[in-house]
């Protein structure tokens, strides 16, 4: 197999893209932990952290990261019906229902997080 095998087909390329975007999931998780740590260190530390987030470099990085994160989430939600088979009264629940429920769950969790974080 040549090193560039993943460029031979769009499916292979999409697969590598999906896998690589998990790096941004990890980075975002670390960033959130640092944010919580700054919050625990008091208002000054938190304000400094937020100011650092507003620098152009980090805004660009977070924008790219958010796009990668959305791609990661959407591609996995698309794959979820393949990994979870649910039967209701001997009938298989359609794929779009399973995927749709995941999107609903995502929206609900996002709304709850936004509600906590939104400045009052």
């Amino acid at each position: 197999m040549p090193f560039w095998w993943w460029l031979q087909k769009r499916v292979y390329f999409n697969f590598i893209l999906r896998e690589l975007t998990c790096v941004f999931v990890g980075v975002f998780a670390v960033l959130t932990l640092l944010q919580i740590q700054a919050l625990a260190n008091g208002p000054d530390a938190y304000a400094e952290f937020i100011n650092r987030l507003r620098t152009p470099g980090l805004i660009l990085f977070n924008s790219v990261g958010l796009a990668a994160l959305l791609l990661h989430a959407v591609t996995w939600f698309k794959a979820v019906p393949t990994t979870i088979t649910v039967r209701f009264r001997e009938t298989r629940v359609p794929d779009h229902v399973i995927a749709g429920l995941h999107y609903v769950g995502w929206m609900v969790v996002s709304a709850v997080v936004a509600w906590f974080l939104w400045p009052s």
């Binding site: 197999m1 095998w5 993943w6 031979q8 087909k9 499916v11 292979y12 697969f15 896998e19 794959a79 393949t82 990994t83 979870i84 088979t85 039967r87 001997e90 298989r92």
Partner: protein, 249 residues
């Protein structure tokens, strides 16, 4: 409308050449033909030395799988007309398999993998035939029917980059067939198969590229079968850790 169409076919005659070469043939363009018909025209009318496998010509035997323009394809199932715009049509043996001659691959590795997952009904206690068959309802059949449609054409192996990178990987069709028997209400061999497929070269080798499902001519969805298998294995593991009495044996 084209009167002839060009086929560029991979040739490998081990007594004459050390690696495959390509040979081009002009065959009549007939919109009723499938790729296999064009190859049979070459064999019958142009070059009797061209070697390839085929049998049923109706998508049942799984013999005539080849790479057509770089994609694993069952050549009896795709019309020649689909490829008119991409002439010449490049036909090669299934990738990731050793080549015996021309378009014929050595399938021994696949057969070994297939038998390793015990694709047959395993019973703890086999009842004598006089007691009749093991019956099941249509709903029980429906649970595994999709995975039972596999014709062992090996297209999924040729589509899977993991097979190319790690030739020992058990591979899509064998794992899908294992899952087919696990889901069969008459079978009691899931634990035996899990022991085989939980090993390094088993289900966990799959990285869920998904191309195996895309190329499957029978809509078996091997990628889905493997992911369901992983879910079952993970569930078993969690049960054995959290609920030692709840683990399936």
């Amino acid at each position: 409308m084209a009167e002839t169409i060009k086929l560029t076919v991979s040739r490998y005659r081990p007594e004459e050449e050390s690696k495959p070469t390509f040979q081009t043939y002009d065959v009549p363009y007939n919109k009723e033909w499938v790729i296999l018909d064009a190859l049979n025209y070459v064999k019958d009318q142009l070059d009797g030395t061209l070697t390839f496998r085929w049998s049923c010509r109706m998508g049942v035997c799984g013999s005539c799988g080849m790479m057509v323009n770089g994609t694993p394809t069952l050549t009896c199932a795709v019309p020649l007309s689909d490829y008119v715009s991409s002439e010449p049509i490049r036909i090669e043996p299934l990738q990731f398999f050793p080549i015996i001659r021309d378009l014929v691959i050595d399938m021994n590795s696949f057969l070994g993998k297939l038998s390793s997952v015990k694709p047959w009904i395993i019973r703890d206690d086999e009842k004598p035939p006089v007691e009749g068959e093991y019956r099941q309802t249509p709903a029980e059949l429906d649970v595994y029917k999709q995975f039972s449609m596999c014709i062992n054409c090996m297209l999924c192996y040729s589509a899977c980059p993991v097979v190319g990178l790690e030739p020992e990987f058990t591979g899509p069709a064998a794992i899908a067939l294992a899952q087919r028997y696990n889901l069969d209400s008459r079978d009691q061999g899931a634990a035996e198969r899990m022991a085989v497929l939980n090993e390094h070269d088993g289900m966990w080798g799959c990285t869920f590229v998904g191309e195996c499902t895309n190329v499957c001519p029978k809509n078996v969805d091997p990628a889905g079968a493997i992911q369901l298998y992983k879910m079952a294995s993970a569930t078993d593991w969690f049960k054995s850790v959290l609920l030692p009495w709840g683990s399936k044996k």
